[in-house]
Assembly symmetry: C2
Homo-oligomer: 424 residues x 2
């Protein structure tokens, strides 16, 4: 590894950034992967940390360990503050990095559609810390119910609202219902946890809007069998410490979780390229930034249309885009032409609860136990390379057979009775 090789800087160690770095392992370049976190996060299973089924360490792994043996890559932990495209520099909080080729893959976070004050009452789920905060609130609600003096307050304390019925919202709602009805059902003395109420709210006309209608209907039926109240075509107009408003209607709820909007990482706006409404960068077909053939964007930060439809913000698309960007960087290093990115949709799966899921695999639609089993195999397969997959498998097997959740810790700020509402 000499310093005369072209320098590729990859910003972001998520699915896209890591896939690109790995794909460049035999290309004659030096790679620097920059992330402000030390770990790669397997986000599709993050809701399982939030619902106390898995430990954080089960789904996150140090980026530098993933790249340990890749001699042409180094990892640095730093926050990127901007770009100087003219001078080909990435600006860090404490310095800058020169690049010959740049890949920006900093993903997306949740968006409150301009109502950022809702975040204090309805946390979203993007990081390990988010998941632990949601876990803390959910478990603390049951603890608060056990200590209530005024039984009139019980319904609000035991009402959990999930806003947004995409895959994350559906998974959260199903898991919450299972926690109350199965996991902690016998743990309390002064109330029956099975009386919890889980309300899943969706603005669109059905759950899992991007899925075929038949699967949406199957998912809804499975959710209702789990005791989840599904309210589609319902817009949230206000969220505060007392609960959720739908226009004039007020739903009292101590615990509200946000699984609705998505906003691209703010770094996308610093690339000087046109953005879509969610802040995603409108990339050229080869994933480069228009006017800057040496700068690429991949993953949830990119807006890339294919056959008139945007490529979805899911892990397989991010991995494929990361690899495509890497191929094009390698092509440019070799003086060859770049090629347009083609997303190959291998299907989608959403799990709902114990032995409940829906999925589309090519033209095949699956529901129920079969879908759940495929979901399980796919996620275990993806976790390969993580040492944690064995412990994940054991955790899941345990959960399935014993209805138990092994990671039911309330950590961080201790819960105090009398402070029923979450604080910002």
């Amino acid at each position: 590894m000499t310093t005369t090789l072209p320098h590729v800087v990859v910003v972001g160690g998520g699915f896209a950034g890591l896939a690109a770095t790995r794909a460049l392992r035999r290309t004659p370049v030096r790679i620097t992967l920059v992330d402000r976190r030390n770990h790669h996060l397997f986000q599709p299973l993050l809701y399982q940390v939030a619902t106390a089924a898995l430990n954080p360490g089960d789904i996150a792994y140090p980026i530098r360990s993933v790249l340990r043996l890749q001699q042409n890559a180094r990892t640095i932990l730093a926050r990127v503050t901007g770009f100087d495209l003219a001078r080909r520099r990435v600006q860090l909080v404490d310095g800058e990095l020169h690049y010959d080729h740049l890949l920006v893959a900093t993903g997306a976070t949740h968006s409150y559609f301009g109502k950022d004050e809702w975040e204090a009452w309805a946390p979203g789920l993007k990081t390990i810390e988010d998941a632990l905060e949601i876990r803390r609130r959910v478990l603390s609600a049951f603890e608060a119910a056990e200590r209530l003096r005024d039984p009139a307050e019980l319904p609000a304390v035991l009402t959990f609202v999930v806003v947004g019925a995409g895959p994350t919202g559906v998974e959260l709602a199903g898991a919450l219902s299972e926690i109350g009805r199965l996991t902690v059902a016998r743990d309390f003395r002064s109330f029956d946890p099975r009386t919890l109420r889980v309300v899943l709210v969706e603005g669109a006309g059905r759950v899992l809007p991007p899925y075929p209608e038949r699967l949406s209907a199957a998912a809804r039926a499975q959710l209702e069998r789990l005791g989840v109240e599904v309210r589609t075509g319902t817009l949230v107009t206000r969220i505060d410490q007392t609960g959720v408003w739908f226009g004039q209607e007020h739903l009292q709820a101590r615990t509200v979780l946000w699984a609705a909007g998505v906003a691209a990482s703010p770094l996308g706006a610093l690339l000087g390229a046109p953005l879509d409404r969610a802040g995603r960068v409108l990339v050229a077909p080869d994933l480069s930034v228009p006017g800057h053939p040496e700068v690429f964007v991949a993953g949830d930060l990119m807006h890339c249309e294919q056959d008139g439809v945007p490529v979805p913000g899911v892990a397989p698309a991010a991995i494929q885009a990361g690899r495509a960007a890497a191929r094009n960087i390698a092509a440019r290093v070799a003086g060859a032409p770049t090629r347009p990115f083609r997303y190959r949709d291998k299907g989608s799966l959403a799990t709902i609860g114990r032995a409940k899921a829906v999925g589309q695999l090519g033209r095949l639609e699956v529901t129920g136990f079969l879908a759940w089993w495929i979901w399980w195999l796919v996620h275990i397969a993806y976790l390969i390379g993580f040492r944690n997959r064995l412990s994940v498998m054991i955790g899941w097997a345990w959960q399935y057979f014993a209805f138990a959740r092994g990671a039911r810790l309330i950590t961080g700020r201790a819960w105090e009775p009398g402070r029923a509402a979450p604080k910002p």
Copy 2:
């Protein structure tokens, strides 16, 4: 369970409180266990969370799940603020509980011998949060080393000082050295983690002061084989952001960990009984508080002498004392006389690193691999009842064979370069 049964309130769900509650399961009493945390913590393995070998969920378990099937016990999550012994009330942050019999088992925390300002620079290890903070600092030090511009700063960044060479200090120092020399040895590009320096400082003349001299010597030899610098008979006079002072001598170190003093829980002082210098309650031989035969103290909060020597603050002593207090509560319920507590010392074990440990089992002294193997079996056996023991076993087996540590996440406040010193 009728409300006319005597009411036993147990404050604290550690080893003593939980053992007492379990021991009263067939006694005709109603039990309320109060804890401000929702989980029982297997503290002897907490250093493994701090050194990234285990997940928090591997060593902590919800108290109410442990007591799920014990029909005469309920668990409440609340902070105790005081006692009204005359009216037999436990005061909570949001109310009070009447008791007929009270067991206070709120344990101990670390003490800085009046130098509380040292805590910001030298965190101690008592809670899950402490462990995660130590993990964050240790892993962040390596990340800082990777990004250093001025190589003159490298020695301070790579120096880890552990103050106190009791079992926790010895375990931390050994594990830190193994992290640098084995686990992350190949993970960095701009420095060699094997050049880390771990300094274990002890005021007494030898490591593991309560152990026989031969074992102290063996432990020291094993630590030195792991590359730990052991400094006994050395008093720390100051700790700040630059490191540690021993009188005039200054040791530059970015990361300092505190494993020295122990102070009893402040609730002990609210019982109106005499205390020892560390704030422990001087209990009667039957573990009751003098003048209050209905109030008992057990575990690390009690000061109880046997053959002129205080019973040590270790988990087996806490379990035995909890059970003895329960027997005496049952005796009082039955109108029978109480009996004095007798601590049966089954031995002590301290682990130092991979296949390294020392132990005393009755008159048998063991060192090295045999001691480590016994330590491992004992800790697995204690974890029985936790579903997590399988995952712990896998974690350890992995660590042993692959020199890897599976829980190497930096969570919480992200590390920023340029902020080399920890903040209060």
